[in-house]
Amino acid sequence: MAYDVTEDLEAFRTETRDWLEANCPPSMRTPMADDEIVWGGKRGEFKNPDSKVWLDRMGERGWTAPEWPAAYGGGGLTKEQNRVLQEELRRIKARPALFSFGLWMFGPALLEFGNEEQKKRFLPDIVKGKTRWCQGYSEPGAGSDLAGLQTRCEDKGDHYLINGQKVWTSYADQADWIFCLVRTDTSSKHEGISFILFDMESPGVEARPILLVSGSSPFCETFFTDVKVPKDQLVGRVNGGWEIAKRLLQFERSSISAGGFGGTGGSGILGPEEYAKIHVGTDSEGRIADGDLRGRIADHKMYAKAFNLTVQRQTEQAKAGQQVGHTASILKYGAAKMNQDRHELLIEALGTEGLGWEGEGFDEGAMKATRGWLRSKGNSIEGGTSEINLNVVAKRVLGLKDHQ
């Protein structure tokens, strides 16, 4: 039996390799500039036309969501087959065909908690990149204490009526649909939350981008005024949304840590050691002349290596069927620290070269580093603050008790 499985897997590899060879456009095998990232959706833009070809072909095959069932548009692959697919994609340095909160967060949660009709309705368009989703979680009065959310959802018989405000809604101004936490019962904190889906074009929905310290606007304030939502768009049971919300947060933290906030590199930006060599200079043996800075850069690089090895270890152990526990929280915490430390070192190594904002006179990579440094401050806040993640580790992993 084992022999057959291996043989089948090798056949799958050959088939996959041939298909990728024929279908992955050459320009999709080059490093991706940030402005060529594909997020899909009705308003999705394709700066490079090849990225549309690549998305359509991968989406058609379900390989943007390789392990989702084929019945919902996914690739229907086994874990082993997906491993082969990822290896083959890496081998040709293929770009990800699609970046998507639908793929990383909402889809996995819907697969667990949605009913058949909902899965058939929503998942295929996520796979194909036709619908872009955003996450309606935080509110002005409910940040770390997420379960304190107040956005009201009233049962009006044949529909729900939603009133309230969300904040830090990533890309709400560009999303087609929202998965949203709403209050369906005010008498119980955690047991009064429901998980509901609706179209961002519904009357009464308004998204306003928030300008950050970095000058970018990845998040919005989102307002709901008498938004009517059909009743079949509530996932799970009424007042049963908190369980779904928590599970989805695990998917979110895992997807953040898998990417490490991009904390080990970024296009057009050199590493801190490279900038230090240029702007601080080196001694006769080629070492960064400032020994203290050099030591801190080495310390950071070792942390980053340890982090990456930990992601790799957990992936391998999970594949071998070993329990890896609540590791998403430690990795989320580590990813934030790693990316923030890296950017602090970049700015320190760049000196005044790292203090430009825009226009002529500064290196483009250096200005990216500057914006990235400012943006990175949010890493220990978004997706659960570092403090909340440490709480989760202390309580759920280490078993430490609350005050009695």
Binding site: M302, A306, R313, L398, L400
Partner: protein
């Protein structure tokens, strides 16, 4: 693949964990200390030999199967948990590696079976100053026609007070600090001119200053290439650093578990102290560091066995991370235990003392950080 143990390695790990738990608890080290044994323990050595722990990286036949450094790492991690003083790092890892990597066929045939059987213990006599600096060797080996004459002094030789054989790093050419000109020698501790000054150390494991005064060594005592001993020494030291990192990981885990237990039992202000957020966050950070260090140690052990990956870089990564970890966890262990942590009767202090020795041997965290940067070209 590299992070998942084989079934055999898993069994070895279980055996080692059960052995240290049942036969070598911390009370055992305490008892040895109190009777002034300075880490010497013939009965434990006998049991380790019976378990086959001395021969974990030595195949029965040349080229045959063995558990690999990954296997030995599981044992060292286990002994680190209870601070056990054993000759395993010096003999089963360092001597077995040096002789396998550099020894002639005759030398391997003579010594490897004795190592595997636990018949002979070794110690690596390298450092000459208070800080790890493997090229700073002034001990001289002068050719005398039939062999070499050794003169010099080695400081703080781990296991040196209880070794039957020394692996001596000496200079056959050049100046202190030169990579070229080092040669390794096998020298029986009983050889005329060898003086062992036993040291009582803070961790109760003991060590020795060893002086070589016109010590004669035959040609058959040369281990590896003359003048290019660094080619053997460097990979051996990488392995030693990785082995010590595994031991430090074990010590950190045990000190952390002890701390966690205390946080869950000690009450102040009518509350378990583990319910205070200042304690919870520090505990969670330590746990994160343990998990990250575990990945580094596992990757380094596996890299030696597979021959894939950059062993030197991973060795420095593992030793530096484990050094910082054991320092942090052993100190937090004392602090979180409060006053009781300062007493001799409680165990936290033993972990803190042993940690300092573990940190210093085979390169401190700062030494390895510097090397990591050099290897990465900055």
């Amino acid at each position: 693949m590299s992070f998942v143990l084989t079934e055999d390695q898993e069994m070895l790990r279980d055996t080692a964990l059960a052995f240290v738990r049942d036969e070598l608890p911390v009370t055992h080290l305490r008892a040895l200390r109190d009777k002034g044994a300075n880490g010497r323990d013939a009965a434990t050595r006998q049991k380790l030999a019976e378990l086959g722990f001395f021969g974990v990286i030595i195949p029965d036949e040349p080229g045959g199967e063995h558990f690999g450094l990954v296997g030995l790492g599981q044992i060292l991690e286990a002994q680190g948990r209870t601070l056990a003083a054993t000759p395993l790092l010096q003999t089963a890892l360092i001597a077995a590696s040096a002789i396998q990597l550099g020894g002639s066929k005759a030398m391997q045939a003579e010594w490897l079976p004795k190592i595997a059987a636990g018949e002979t213990t070794f110690a690596l006599a390298l450092d000459e100053s208070a800080h790890f600096a493997p090229l700073n060797v002034a001990t001289e080996a002068e050719s005398n026609g039939q062999g070499y004459t050794l003169n010099g002094m080695k400081r703080f030789v781990p296991g040196g007070h209880d070794a039957e054989m020394f692996i001596v790093v000496a200079r056959t050419f050049g100046e202190t600090g030169d990579r070229h000109g080092l040669t390794l020698f096998l020298v029986p501790a009983k050889t005329k001119g060898v003086t062992v000054q036993e040291l009582k150390t803070v961790d109760s494991h003991g060590a020795a200053h060893v002086t070589f005064d016109d010590v004669m060594v035959g040609q058959n005592g040369v281990l590896g290439p003359v003048d290019e001993g660094a080619d053997v020494l460097e990979p051996v030291l990488d392995r030693a650093a990785i082995g010590m990192a595994a031991e430090m990981l074990g010590s950190s885990e045990a000190a952390f578990e002890m701390t966690l237990e205390y946080l869950q039992s000690r009450k102040q202000f009518g509350q378990l102290i583990g319910s205070f957020q200042s304690m919870q966050h520090r505990a969670a950070k330590m746990f994160t560091e343990i998990e990250m260090t575990r990945s580094c140690v596992a990757a380094a052990l596996a890299a030696v066995d597979s021959g894939k990956g950059d062993v030197a870089e991973l060795a420095s990564l593992a030793k530096a991370k484990a050094g910082e970890l054991v320092h942090l966890v052993s100190n937090e262990c004392v602090q979180m235990h409060g006053g009781i942590g300062m007493t001799d009767v409680a165990d936290p202090g033993l972990y803190m003392k042993r940690a300092r020795v573990q940190e210093a041997l085979y390169g401190s965290a700062s030494w390895h950080r510097d090397r990591y940067a050099r290897l990465q070209g900055f």
